[in-house]
């Protein structure tokens, strides 16, 4: 009984998360500015993490959980890196040289 419920619920969750991934991709494509795209990419990583977590429940393999947590870490580091890039692109940090040509 509970196995069928689990299977159905994970399927529904996968569909919802796929929709979320799709919407984030739309924002990545149309996003007018760079920070918009970075934000959408961040959300994309979180959605992908949810996707992998749902697959972990569906297959019952704990290994997927590690992938999900690694994805969350990767998303965080990528956003930090992009924030640094946005900051230095427009306003070169003192001593870091002038790479910020508008």
């Amino acid at each position: 009984m509970s196995a069928t419920v689990l299977s159905v619920v994970t399927m529904i969750a996968l569909v919802i998360l796929a929709l979320a991934l799709l919407l984030s991709v739309v924002r990545v494509i149309i996003g007018p500015s760079l920070p918009d795209r970075v934000l959408a990419l961040d959300l994309l990583t979180v959605s992908a993490m949810g996707f992998v977590g749902t697959i972990a429940i569906r297959t019952g393999r704990a290994l997927y959980l590690d992938i999900a947590i690694a994805l969350a870490l990767l998303g965080f580091l990528a956003t930090v890196g992009f924030a640094r890039y946005i900051l230095s692109r427009q306003r070169p940090l003192s001593g870091s040289g002038g790479e910020g040509h508008p």
Binding site: M1, S2, V5, L6, V9, T10, I12, A13, I16, L17, L19, A20, L21, L23, S24, V26, R27, S33, P35, D36, V38, L39, A40, D42, L43, V46, S47, M49, G50, G53, T54, A56, I57, G60, A62, L65, D66, A68, I69, A72, L73, G75, F76, T79, V80, F82, A83, R84, I86, L87, R89, Q90, R91
Partner: protein, 115 residues
């Protein structure tokens, strides 16, 4: 007992997926960068956290459950930091909010430091 945990996990999973979807809708619909950040940082963190919580509830292995819960804590710690960094970077880099903005008490300050 185990069945109850599974149903609870299913509820958490569905809620997490729906919050993630709402975060995506918010990022798509809201009119400017900073408002989108609200959607992505809050609904995104809650959505991802609920899904990891569902993994912890459904699997019956203490090591896995503990890892999932540590993952939730990690997500709740890092999401605000990344949102904060991105907001700060874009504000300093001169990405302005749209005309809806009522008060902007940071504007004059960042204007000075930009010079």
């Amino acid at each position: 007992m185990t069945d109850a945990l599974i149903y609870l996990g299913c509820a958490a999973l569905l809620a997490g997926a729906i919050f993630t979807l709402l975060a995506a809708i918010g990022v798509l619909r809201l009119p400017d960068l900073y408002m989108r950040m609200h959607a992505a940082s809050k609904a995104g963190a809650v959505g991802g956290g609920l899904i990891l919580l569902a993994v912890a509830l459904v699997c019956f292995d203490a090591a896995v459950a503990l890892r999932a819960i540590i993952g939730v804590g990690f997500l709740l710690l890092t999401t605000p930091v990344s949102a904060h960094l991105l907001a700060r970077a874009s504000h300093y880099a001169g990405y302005r909010a749209d005309e809806l903005m009522e008060i902007d008490e940071l504007k004059s300050k960042s204007g000075q430091s930009l010079m």
